[in-house]
Amino acid sequence: MNTKLTRKLRKNLTNVEQTLPPTSGEGHKSPLPMWEGVRGRGYSLPHSLGDGQGGGELWACLHFPQLPLEIFSRGDNSPIARVVSITKGNRKYALICNREALACGVKPRMAISAAYALCATLDVRQRNVAAEQEALASIAESAQQFTSLVSLVPPDSVLLEVAGSLTLFKGYKNLLAQLKQGLKELGYEARIAAAPTPLGATLLARNGFEEPVIDPHQLHSRLSPLPIETLCLDADLLKKFENLGLRCIGDCLRLPRDGLARRFGPQLLLTFDKILGKAPDPRQPFIPSTRFKSHLLLPAQVDSSESLLFATHRLLLELTAFLRARDGGIQELSLVMTHYKGPATQMDLKLVAPSRDIQHLRELIRVQFDRLKLTQSVEELTLCSGDVLPLLAQNQDLLVDRATMLATGSRLIEQLCARLGAEAVCGIRTSMDHRPEQSWCVCAPGKSGEFVKVGLRPVWLLTKPRLLKMMRHRPRLQGPLSLRAGPERIESGWWDEGDVTRDYFIAANPGGSRFWIFRERQPPYSWFLHGIFS
C-alpha cells in the first residue's frame, strides 16, 4: 500500500471519529429529566439534540403504505378482493392488492389481465393521486387534535411533532395507541415511528421500524441498518453507491465528510446531517382550513341507506376531530351525494345551536336518509360544513338566558326539521302594527316580538277575510249573527298599500260559535269574517 495513501486514510479515519457523535452510553453528561405523570419506563426527552436543532423534539411519522387502496376501501367494509392499478404504456399493472386479493394469488406488479384470470370478481380501481392527497390532508386535520405542528410528507406520510403532547397523553405509548385507534376508525392503517428528527422518523416508518427512538444519540445506530433506497435519491446516485459497495445508511455515515461532499455534492451531506439532527430541518406546517370539507369515494355503487350511513359515519368522525381541534361546533352541514349521471343530490342540515356531538348529528342524518328517495346509486360522498362557531356554555345559571332556554328545545326541533323539512316547523311572534293581518308573523321558534295590549282577540285568524252573506241587511254565517261587542275601530296602514279602515265586532250565531267580524268604513260597507274565537 502506498504510504502517502495510508497516512491520508489514517487522517481521514481520525476525522471521521471526531465528526460522528459518540455511541449511546458513552460520554453522556447528566441523567435525563423525567416527565411527570409517566410511569414505567418513562419517556423522557433530552434537552439538546445537537448543534442544529432546538431542545427536545420528538417527531412521529405516520406512514400509509396502503393509502391508494384505503381511499376506496374505507367507504365500505365488505370483504371483496380489490386491487389498485396503474397504467404503464397501454397495459395495466397491479400496484397494491388487499388481503382478499392476495389470498386469491394476485401479486403486486402483476398484469391486470392475469389478475382477472386468477380472481374473476376482482374490483380494479385506477389510482387516484388527487384523492390520496386529499385523504392525507384530512388525516392531517384529524391529527390536529393530538398536536398543533403537523406537516405533510407527500405522497404517503404525515409528520407530527409530539414532544409537547406527551404529558397530556400520558406517555408515548398511550399517544400511539390513541393515534392507531383514531386512524383505524377513519379506515386507515398506519406504520408509526418516532425519532428526534423528522427525516429520521420518516425513514424508520417507511421501513417499518416502529420502536420509538427517543435518545438522539441512539439515532445513528438505529438508522444504520436501513437500506440506501429509502432515502429516495436519484437513480444514478444510487448506482454510484452500489458501485462503491455501499448498501445501508451506516456505510455512508462511516465515510469521510469532505470526500462525500466532493463526490456526491453538498446536498447529500446536508441530508445526512438532517437525519442525525446536526442540521436544522424546518418543515412546512400544515395549515388547517376554516371550513370542513371531506370526500369519500364509494367503492361499489351504493343505494341503501344503511351503507350510506356507514360511509357517512367515517366522514362524521373526521368532522368531530376537526371540530375538537378547533374547540367549536357547527350549525350548518351539507352532504352532497354524487351520482354517475345527472345532478348530485344535496342534503342540508341546520342545527338550532352549534354542536359537535357525533351521535346527535348521526341521528339527524339517519332521519333525513329515511326520508330521502334515491333515484340512482351514489358514487361519492362529500361533507361540507358551515363556519366553526363556539359551543354554548353548558352551565346551570340561576338567570337562564335565552340561548340556553332555546337549547332545551333544540333536539326536538332538529328532529322535526330533519324529517318534516325546515319549513314545517316554526314559531310565531307579534309585530307592531294595528292591522290584524300584519300584527303577527311566522319566525324561528323561540322568538317573541314587542307587544301592545289590545282587547279580546280570536285565537284563529283567517289568512284572508271572508265576505259574509247578507240577509235583510244583517250578516249571516251558519245562521244570523248577532253582535255582542264592539265596535272597535281600526284605521291604519295609510303609508303602504294595505290601507285599513274597519269597525270590528264580536258576533255570535245561534249555534253558539263566536266570530270576529268587521265592517268596512268605505263603500260598499261590506261585512267580513276575520277570526274565530275558540
Binding site: 332545551t408 303577527w440 282577540r457
Partner: protein, 170 residues
Amino acid sequence: MDAVLPGGGWPQGALTEILPMREGIGELRLVIPALMRLSRSNRWIAWIAPPRMPYAPALATVGIDLSRVLLVRPTTKADTLWATEQALRYGKCGAVLAWPRQVNYRTLRRLQLAAEAGQAWGFLFRSPREKNSPSPAALRLRLEPLGTGLAAQILKCRGGHVTKPIILKV
C-alpha cells in the same frame, strides 16, 4: 276550572280528548290557562297540524309566552302522528295540542304511552262523531254551547264516574 275537573286539573302524562260540537264555541279557551302556566314555567307548547294558524296577539294577550310556542305543520297524516308522538315523548314539552283525524285505538294508545314517557299534557281535539269510539285517553270531554257559556259533558275520566254535565261560563 281546576276545581271543577275531576282530579283537580288536567291529567298530566296523559291524553285529554276534547270533542266540541262546533268550531268556535270556546274549546281552546278551556285549556288556555294551563297553557299560560306551562309557558311561564319554561316548557314548550307544541301545536301539531292546527286547522289554521294561531293568532299571535291573541295568545300574547291571554298571557302565553310566544317564545315557547312551536308550530308544526306536517303534510301527511303519518308525519302528523309521528310529530305528535315525538313532541309528547320529548319531556321538555309541557303541552301538545293536536287535531288528529281518523286515528284508531292503537295509535291513540301509542300517543298515550308517549305522553306518559314525556310527562306531557296532551290535548286532542276531535270531532263529536268520535264520541262512541273507544279511546285510551284519561279524560274525554264533550263540549256544547249553553246560553252564553259552555256545557262540558265528561264522557270518560280516570277514577270516578261523573255523569252530570258541568256548566262552565266562558
